[in-house]
């Protein structure tokens, strides 16, 4: 088996799930929290993978600070996604 202590399967599952939620939630604040959760679970995985330096940095910078910066941006803009998407991304067209 490839798993290290087998708890990692569960954490990977939760991490992917929070990523899906982060992308699908309409409330941007919730989405940012989901993103921070992905970062936190990833930092836990880094710890399992014997990378404590990276785990610390990811927790401090990836989860906490970038989450904070996102929240400030939401505070200065708006909190909810608006309408349904219809066309492909706008870089596809010239």
């Amino acid at each position: 088996m490839n798993c290290i202590s087998c708890i990692d399967y569960i954490i990977i599952g939760i991490m992917v799930l929070s990523a899906v939620f982060a992308v699908e939630w309409r409330d941007l604040l919730a989405a940012v929290v989901g993103m921070a959760a992905v970062s936190l679970f990833a930092s836990l995985l880094f710890f399992f993978l014997q990378a404590p330096d990276v785990a610390m940095t990811e927790a401090a910078i990836g989860a906490a600070l970038s989450g904070a910066v996102f929240i400030f941006a939401i505070k200065r803009t708006r909190r909810f996604e608006t309408e349904e998407e219809e066309k492909p991304g706008w870089w596809v067209r010239w």
Binding site: N2, C3, I4, D8, Y9, I12, M15, V16, A19, V20, A22, V23, L28, A31, V32, G34, M35, V38, S39, A42, L45, F46, L49, Q50, A51, P52, D53, V54, T57, E58, I61, G62, L65, S66, V69, F70, F72, A73, I74, R76, T77, R78, E81, T82, E83, E85, E86, K87, P88, G89, W90
Partner: protein, 116 residues
């Protein structure tokens, strides 16, 4: 069927979810959340490449010899990549704030329409 480890699977899944958000979503902040998730996925991929079964962290203090540690290079790379990711995110968010101040929306279709 190809067989890959759970960590690779998780990392690739994060990359794909992030890419999906960037390609499909219309809200700028949502796209940036996607980019951020993608970056986390890439970092996880790099770290799991450096992992070696049964070896411990590359801090050679007590009881860990040069033969008993995992590969330190990917960890150093990811340290750099995380900081770069946060820098990009901060830049992108301030551009988003300007866009919102000018157009009053974060929806890219709306912005396009308002710009004419």
């Amino acid at each position: 069927m190809i067989e890959i480890s759970a960590y690779y699977f998780g990392a690739i899944a994060l990359i794909m979810i992030g890419l999906y958000a960037v390609l499909v979503k219309k809200n700028l902040l949502k796209m940036l959340v996607g980019l951020s998730i993608m970056e986390t996925g890439v970092n996880l991929l790099l770290i799991s490449i450096g992992y070696i079964n049964g070896k411990s962290a590359p801090i050679l203090s007590e009881g860990v010899g040069p033969k008993g540690a995992v590969d330190p290079i990917p960890q150093a790379l990811v340290l750099t990549a995380i900081v770069i990711g946060v820098a990009t995110t901060a830049m992108a968010l301030s551009a988003a704030i300007i866009l919102y101040e000018k157009y009053g929306t974060l929806n890219i279709e709306e912005i396009r329409r308002l710009r004419g």
